[in-house]
């Protein structure tokens, strides 16, 4: 049995080696959502979808990441998010906005395809009253709304589109135990890939193990970025971030069934690395293991 497993993994290695090494990608814009009201959220999302389509470089699939703020339990049976203007939106409001983003992309589509992503964060979940179970349901419903969006895209003939979910999971913002439930809930629902566009804040920059900020261990970052349907799209703002995420990848491959790769990089303007150099910094340390997504806040 062990021989079989080793043979299969060797075959997997051949597949990886055969993959084409991608060139540095062009960045696409990711958006912080400041809604104010449900109608404004929809209007903004439509504009973001259209702008994204008009500016989309190349013919590949790209991620349109809309960050709706912190995941929240709004009442006993309603989940959603509080956005960066401190407005609370239910998942129904957010789905309506995501559908308008799909409409905007469709109306302005020029080339390529898009993965429209319901993004949120792990910002202060516990202190807002959310228990670990609530975080699990937040991830579950986030994935379900992404599937609802896919149904909408399919029923309207938007065949250049799909949908997934994402979370800016920052060790400093919430405990590992609660944050991991977002990923577990998403996995339980089963539809959405769950892009981790957070940081490995405080994690070591060398070696293959160690602690991170707020009591997290490198294994926790590995979990939220690669367990289940999770995929890393990490914030690489400084060279240190690329070093930290390389340690995460090494830890995962050394201690689990391996196969860790990055969907790409989340970048920003105004920080230590330019968007292009963010991607290059991570790729240079993880040769052939960084796909060509480059989502950028501020681009």
């Amino acid at each position: 049995m062990r021989l079989l497993a080793c043979t299969v993994v060797a075959a997997a290695g051949v597949l990886v080696s055969a993959a084409v090494v991608a060139a540095t990608p062009n960045p696409v814009t990711a958006w912080y959502m400041y809604g104010g009201s449900p109608s404004e959220l929809r209007s903004n999302a439509y504009a973001h979808g259209c702008d994204f389509a008009q500016g989309q470089p190349g013919t590949n699939m790209r991620v349109l990441l809309l960050d709706f703020g912190a995941a929240r339990k709004l009442d006993s049976s309603t989940w959603g998010a509080v956005d960066f203007s401190n407005t609370r939106f239910s998942n129904a409001d957010i789905l309506a906005a995501l559908e308008r983003a799909a409409d905007g992309y469709h109306n302005c589509h020029v080339r390529g395809s898009v993965d429209i992503v319901y993004g949120n964060s792990n910002f202060h979940l516990s202190s807002s009253g959310m228990a670990a179970t609530d975080a699990w349901w937040a991830g579950y419903h986030q994935s379900r709304r992404s599937e609802n969006l896919a149904d909408y895209q399919a029923s309207n003939g938007y065949s250049s589109q799909t949908s997934d979910a994402a979370s800016d999971m920052e060790p400093s913002w919430e405990s590992a135990a609660v944050t991991k439930q977002l990923v577990s809930g998403d996995q339980a629902q089963g539809w959405a890939l769950y892009y981790d566009f957070g940081s490995a804040d405080g994690c070591p920059q060398s070696g293959s193990a160690g602690g991170c900020n707020n009591g997290w261990h490198i294994s926790d970052v590995g979990y939220v970025s690669y367990a289940g349907l999770a995929l890393p799209l990490p914030e690489i703002y400084y060279t240190a971030n690329a070093n930290q995420w390389t340690v995460v990848r090494k830890w995962w491959n050394a201690n689990t069934h391996g196969g860790y790769f990055f969907l790409g990089v989340t970048a920003s303007t105004g920080v230590g690395l330019t968007p292009a150099s963010s991607w290059t910094a991570l790729s240079s340390l993880n040769n052939g293991l960084v796909e060509s997504e480059l989502a950028c806040f501020g681009c």
Binding site: S43, S85, G112, S160, L193, A227, N255, T256, H257
Partner: protein
């Protein structure tokens, strides 16, 4: 990217087979029991890789009514989500204003990797133009900054976007952030209060 991800789908399935075969691929105790691995992603990656580059429906969708509601200038408390990563900024507080077309949010604190460096992050959005910018402004070795005084209310929804904010440094000194130039000045004692 499509070719690469297609290969990943194959890898995910194969690695999943290996894990399923139980050939010495037990997961680490550190992550606590059985964790679904790459195979769990195979179907979703496959779905993603099969998306077309054209829409089967060419009719335009109805555009939503443009809704542009101003946001009166206000301070953001520590319970309001921050979009900026702690690796960039350790936030003390924030401030926000929008006139319905353009929006400015300012977050004050310390550099993520150096708590003695005061830092502000300015997020601007122009919804009509579809533009968003993020600007990081360092104030030097001031300690963490906090917004001490700022324009507030409905009357300044446009003017405050290029106005000034008063910042308090870690040691108690005052500085001024000029949103017009996006610069911090240390000669706060000569600056006019907003």
């Amino acid at each position: 990217m499509l070719r690469l991800l297609s290969a990943r789908v194959g890898v995910a399935a194969l690695v999943g087979l290996a894990a399923g075969a139980g050939g010495g691929f037990a997961l680490a105790d550190a992550i606590g029991g059985s964790v679904p691995g790459p195979a769990s992603k195979a179907a979703a990656l496959d779905r993603r890789a099969s998306v077309a580059t054209t829409d089967s429906n060419t009719a335009p969708a109805p555009a939503p009514e443009t809704a542009s509601r101003p946001i009166p200038a206000r301070m953001l408390g520590d319970d309001v989500p921050v979009p900026v990563s702690p690796s960039v900024l350790r936030v003390r507080n924030g401030w926000l204003v929008s006139d319905g077309e353009t929006l400015v949010a300012v977050y004050a604190g310390a550099a993520g990797d150096e708590p003695s460096v005061g830092r502000v992050v300015i997020v601007r959005q122009n919804l009509a133009a579809g533009k968003q910018t993020v600007r990081v402004v360092d104030a030097g070795f001031t300690g963490a900054l906090a917004i001490a005084a700022a324009p507030l209310g409905r009357a300044v929804e446009t003017s405050a976007q290029t106005g000034t904010l008063r910042l308090r440094a870690g040691g108690g000194g005052l500085l001024t952030l000029d949103l017009g130039s996006e610069r911090v000045s240390h000669d706060a004692h000569t600056a006019r209060l907003p």
